[in-house]
Symmetry: C2
Subunit: 356 residues, 2 copies
């Protein structure tokens, strides 16, 4: 059986581990940072719309850190590493993606050299998120593929070792590089060992970059705007001038700009999705992830959701008047969150950033 | 002696009343809403950089409301009505400018008909703020002029009946309509009776509309941006990408747009002020008024500072890509503040505004 290590034990990561465990086609390890002691003694309490009520559930193995998971790996290492943590490329060093997965890649290399291919599945938001990995781990030194997971799921950690999943798990999985046949094969294999008919919904994604740009139409325009104003999506729509200005003056222009940036990369996103994404949460009170992070004082996935698209637009000469204002204002909100967390220092006497 | 009624007893209003009282060329009445009982018994405690330490200070008359001030006016009525309250044209009805001053205008009319001209001095932010008055009080029924005051002052109410003034009072005063000779004369008279040499600094403003557009270059671009991100100005500048993006991507484009809107109205604001206003608070931690209001959960002067310029731009066909995003996002922040204050209701079940 393939051995899978799931990194990140929030609402998404635990249901990911549970889905694999339920299928019984893989050996599942989970990195459980803060809840380790409780999970180790009593397991998880899970209310899941996909799998029902579970008490004392555990995957095959749990570890406190990725380092522990690497150190205690048996002689087989890990075939799949599934990353479900937030992707904050401007955050502290230990939260950066290459640093998170490094222990497993090094261990696999040490155990098997080029005989074992590590399949790294990123179940994360944003565009160009695989590039940091390709840059930090040269292909002639490490044997790996990078897979993309885009997940729609309503699942939240509501207490220590306590998960509530309220909407069905919908996962699309594919290869970032569609020419990489090993990656395509690994993605198909993962779809098979993750799919639980009648419970979740999983499918192979033949066009990862298209799917990611499509999701960005929503995230770069709507998720970002809600984070700036601190309101859920229906309130944003209803509170506009004549109940229209948010859609007409902010959401739609921003979404048009994302579609134009995607087009400059040769990716065609159909215009109809602008209406789809505007309507999708009009009738249900829902706060997108960046707004939730801001409210909780956590760093937002700003750079992978909006910074990377803006940089592509710059490179390709695509004008982004709306997205730029959103981005450069959110850079300030992100800095405010960093200052609150002590990740940057500002000296009020000199009115300058303190370089550390 | 002219009789002056000052409306609004915050940091600005109290120092305004004090400055007039100090000169001893007018009879000064002040509307003191929430602090009335304490002021009536013990007077004000004031630490003023312009007038020193005062204990138990009172103007000639104090009133709890404008209605009381009108009812108890002697047979002379009021020559000047100085309004120092915030100007929230989208706020509750009793905070709207025409409703605030109506009792005095009606009283003066009843006492003297067209024999007494009421000079209404608006010491408030924004553009087109006089239009509501002109619309609500027909010139053939009411005898009045409308004067503009633009005040730079650091003065705050730091406790009940307790005012701290930390930076010198600088007031420019003129006629909204420079063709109105009665208004020009009244503005000059006010400058004279307000000016305390060696204490404050006051001058006649021959170009009110120019001065107001000039101040908007700062307020519509910088004050607004700080309110969206919840940071003082130096932090906004320092926290930008490479310490530059806030200035280059937000402040300057927004200021350019205000200058373009002013130009469409025949008002030329010199480009040099863009640099002046960017630098003016770079080295001193300072939160502009809209940011302070947002932090305190109070409504912001959004419509007179940014809504009115946007509407003028629409009318004149001036593109405002930056200001529009700022405005339509701040409309949502303002609505969030209104919901918090119970001024609007949102039904989470239907995800719709409740029409009342």
């Amino acid at each position: 059986m393939p051995r899978v290590l799931v990194i990140g034990a929030g609402g998404v990561g635990v249901i990911t581990a549970l889905s694999l465990w339920f299928k019984r086609e893989s050996d599942v390890s989970l990195v459980v940072r803060s809840d380790y002691d409780k999970v180790s003694r009593h397991g998880y309490t899970i209310e899941s719309c996909d799998y029902g009520q579970l008490e004392g559930w555990r995957p095959h193995n749990i570890y406190r850190t990725v380092e522990d998971a690497a150190a205690e790996a048996n002689e087989r290492g890990y075939d799949y590493v599934v990353v479900t943590t937030k992707n904050i490329i401007d955050g502290p060093a230990d939260s950066r993606l290459p640093n998170i997965i490094r222990p497993v890649l090094e261990k696999n290399k040490k155990l098997h050299g080029s005989q074992l291919t590590t399949h790294i599945l990123l179940v994360q938001n944003g565009i160009d998120i695989e590039k940091d990995i390709l840059q930090e781990f040269p292909k002639d030194e490490y044997q790996y593929t990078v897979l993309s997971g885009i997940q729609l799921i309503g699942s939240t950690k509501i207490g220590t070792a306590h998960i509530s999943q309220v909407s069905q798990d919908y996962l699309t999985c594919g290869a970032f590089d569609p020419q990489d046949t090993a990656a395509v094969q690994a993605a198909n294999e993962f779809v098979k060992m993750y799919s639980n008919e009648g419970h979740n919904f999983v499918e192979f994604d033949p066009r990862v970059r298209y799917s990611r740009w499509k999701k960005l139409v929503y995230n770069a325009a709507i998720n970002t705007s809600t984070a700036l104003v601190g309101l859920d999506v229906p309130r944003c729509l209803e509170f506009g001038v004549d109940k229209k200005s948010t859609e007409v003056e902010v959401f739609r222009p921003a979404m048009e700009e994302i579609i134009a940036i995607a087009a400059s990369e040769g990716i065609t996103i159909e215009e109809k999705f602008i209406t789809t994404f505007t309507e999708i949460t009009r009738n249900k009170v829902f706060k997108p992830s960046m707004c939730v992070d801001r409210d909780k004082g956590q760093l937002m996935e700003l750079e992978v959701i909006l910074g990377n698209p803006i940089r592509i637009a710059r490179k390709n000469g695509v004008p982004t008047p709306t997205l730029s204002v959103l981005y450069y204002l959110l850079v300030l909100v992100q800095a405010r969150l960093k200052e609150q967390k002590g990740l940057l220092k500002f000296d009020e006497q000199t009115a300058r950033l303190v370089n550390e």
